[in-house]
């Protein structure tokens, strides 16, 4: 009898992940938490380099994943620097030179103010459900919270990161950790998210730590001081003329 049972298990294996919910549905809820029509965010970027630690403060106005305008507020050296993203183009205004330059080619691959984020990382579209097929491959407890481990594989060829692994809080549907992989399977970047706060009907991480694993250093922290979702964003901000104002 026991032999027949084992044989039946071998012949008709029950998929282990059948006990997990649909990955796509989980990812959809993650997107709902993290994305909004518009966002106005005031934040600090704490850059840990080999020699020192710098804090850069900024305010950003974002509309979907296509348009964004950022103004740097501190330190004095960066104050007044502005960045404008429209679709897949990025411009930067530097008050010291009073010039607007388009960030392109090589420069897109360079880090933003010495951080672990490159300009092209900042350009990436973030609505994941449309880009990735998701499968839950397990569970894990992080900081006392039970998470689904989501394995994401790009549905299209033109996605920046071919695959990702994401640890999603089972209750709040926010990622607590994320790993980004190259097509070859090499780990490229890690993100750790914490200090989750409930804002209206969503949970949002107020602290993120980005780490380019190919680079030495302690990574870059991103601290959200304040965030507003779905508020009106002035249209005039999304023009090159706004950079000089």
């Amino acid at each position: 009898m026991k032999f027949i049972f084992i044989l039946a298990l071998l012949l008709f294996p029950v998929p282990l992940h059948a006990q997990f919910p649909d990955g796509a549905a989980v990812l959809e809820k993650v997107d709902q938490n993290l994305n909004s029509t518009t966002q106005v965010i005031r934040s600090k970027m704490i850059i840990h380099s080999r020699r020192d630690t710098r804090t850069v403060e900024s305010k950003s106005w974002t509309e979907g994943d296509k348009r964004a305008y950022t103004e740097y507020l501190a330190p004095a050296r960066e104050k007044g620097t502005k960045m404008l993203k429209i679709q897949d183009q990025l411009w930067m205004y530097s008050p010291s030179t009073d010039r607007i330059i388009q960030i392109s080619g090589h420069m897109l691959r360079q880090s933003v103010m010495g951080s672990d984020l490159s300009y092209e990382d900042m350009m990436e579209d973030q609505r994941l459900a449309g880009l990735y097929g998701a499968e839950i491959i397990g569970t894990e407890i992080i900081d006392g919270r039970t998470c689904w481990i989501l394995h994401l594989v790009a549905k299209k060829d033109d996605v920046a990161y071919h695959s990702r692994t994401m640890w999603v809080d089972q209750e709040r549907y926010v990622p607590m950790k994320e790993e980004l992989y190259a097509k070859s399977g090499k780990l490229l970047k890690k993100t750790e998210l914490s200090d989750f706060r409930q804002i209206n009907d969503r949970w949002y991480p107020m602290h993120m730590r980005f780490k380019d694993v190919l680079k030495t250093g302690d990574g870059t922290e991103f601290v959200v001081d304040s965030i507003e979702f779905n508020t009106a964003v002035p249209e005039h901000l999304f023009s090159k003329a706004a950079l000089r104002r």
């Binding site: 691959r109 790009a154 060829d157 190259a182 097509k183 490229l188 190919l214």
Partner: protein, 390 residues
């Protein structure tokens, strides 16, 4: 003939004054020839190196490719035309695929350009054969400048991250298999050479290239679909423009140098005419025409040029020959100028350069000698004998 003999005797009679003028003028000769020779030598070496290492007999550029606009790099690739594929000994070509990437040597992040080249190519002097290695990592060849900036040596590995044709990130480890020494920084600074087939696979662009370098002796440069032919003149235009600027700044120096020497001759002439007014008056009174006296003084001045040419030859020939043989060492810093400059520049002193420079200086010296001598034409012989200058 009398004028010539008289002029020579007067010149020698002036003694130290003549020799001072002659030495200053001879320096102008030597420095002008040396600097022009240096520029000509640099020009020749740079063109020779650029042809061997970079441009070959010309290049086919994918029609969107613009080396000064990195925006174009992502779409600058096309199938290598059938006529240019294969290793036809009659028409050797070297297709090169170019892509952007980031290298992480010792955990540092550095932008770079990946250049895929056929390891079996014979068109360029690049040591591409070294790329023919069966190793798990990507075999790469670096120039000395790139190796220095990344702090990589032969056998070292570093991770390279790039985006494929669709924009997806990919990364793999690369191993340095060779470090090449080249005088052409454009194939070295920020460049990483990898096997063409490997890069085509990495970028998902099978059979494609950005530029195709043709052999130096290839005359046939018929149109190829999707590619535009750029000849050597076009490809060396930037260098040519830079040489023009260098030549122009050289001319400014020549003018300053010559002015110093000519000023001395001019002064000498003025002084000679003033001091020898009695002699001038006597010569005219004895029946010498004013024109003949002007010729005499002009000849004296012009003889400074001839004498200076001899003096310059005495010390200039050994000095310049030595430099042409041993070359002039260039400081290390010139490596960072982005120009094709070798460690040593061997000046080239052509017959045309020496003859031309000598002729120009002689003509200018003659003109400068003539200008003060013109005053003699207004001279009254009686006043001149009395020691007056009208």
């Amino acid at each position: 003939m009398i004028t010539l003999r008289l002029a020579y005797r007067n010149l020698m009679g002036a003694g130290l004054r003549t020799w001072l003028n002659t030495i200053v003028l001879s320096m102008a000769y030597v420095i002008i020839i040396w600097q022009k020779g240096l520029l000509d030598g640099w020009n020749y070496q740079a063109r020779h190196d650029m042809t061997n290492w970079e441009i070959g007999g010309g290049q086919y550029w994918q029609e969107d490719y613009d080396p000064y606009d990195l925006f174009t790099l992502e779409k600058s690739h096309a199938q290598i035309p059938e006529a240019l594929t294969g290793m036809n000994p009659q028409r050797p070509v070297a297709p090169i695929l170019i892509g952007q990437a980031t290298i992480y040597p010792q955990g540092r992040m550095q932008s770079c350009i990946l250049r895929g080249i056929d390891p079996e190519q014979t068109v360029l002097h690049l040591p591409s054969a070294a790329l023919q290695q069966d190793i798990a990592e990507i075999p790469v060849v670096l120039g000395t400048r790139m190796a220095e900036s990344t702090n990589l040596n032969v056998g070292d590995t570093a991770t390279i991250r790039w985006r494929d044709a669709n924009g997806t990130f990919d990364a793999a480890d690369a191993r340095v298999v060779r470090i090449m020494k080249t005088n052409v920084p454009t194939v070295d600074q920020g460049q990483i050479w990898v096997p063409l087939a490997r890069l085509q696979q990495m970028m998902q662009l099978p059979g494609e290239a950005t530029i195709i370098v043709v052999g130096q002796d290839t005359n046939e440069t018929g149109p190829q679909e999707g590619f535009v032919f750029r000849d050597r003149k076009y490809l060396t235009k930037d260098f040519e423009d830079m040489m023009q600027v260098e030549k122009l700044s050289g001319y400014i120096m020549y003018v300053i140098l010559l002015s110093l020497a000519l000023l001395a001759i001019f002064d000498t002439q003025i002084l000679a005419i003033f001091r020898r007014r009695k002699e001038i008056g006597t010569l005219i009174a004895l029946g010498m025409t004013r024109g003949a006296v002007i010729r005499l003084f002009t000849m004296e001045g012009a003889m400074h040029g001839i004498l200076a040419a001899f003096v310059a030859a005495i010390y200039g020939i050994p000095l310049l020959t030595m430099q042409a043989r041993w070359g002039i060492p260039m400081p290390d810093i010139t490596d960072n100028y982005g120009l094709a400059i070798s460690d040593r520049i061997f000046p080239i002193y052509s017959a045309g350069l020496i003859t031309g420079t000598t002729c120009v200086i002689m003509v200018v010296v003659t003109i400068v000698s003539f200008i003060p001598a013109r005053t003699i034409s207004h001279l009254n012989p009686t006043d001149a004998i009395k020691g007056k200058l009208s």
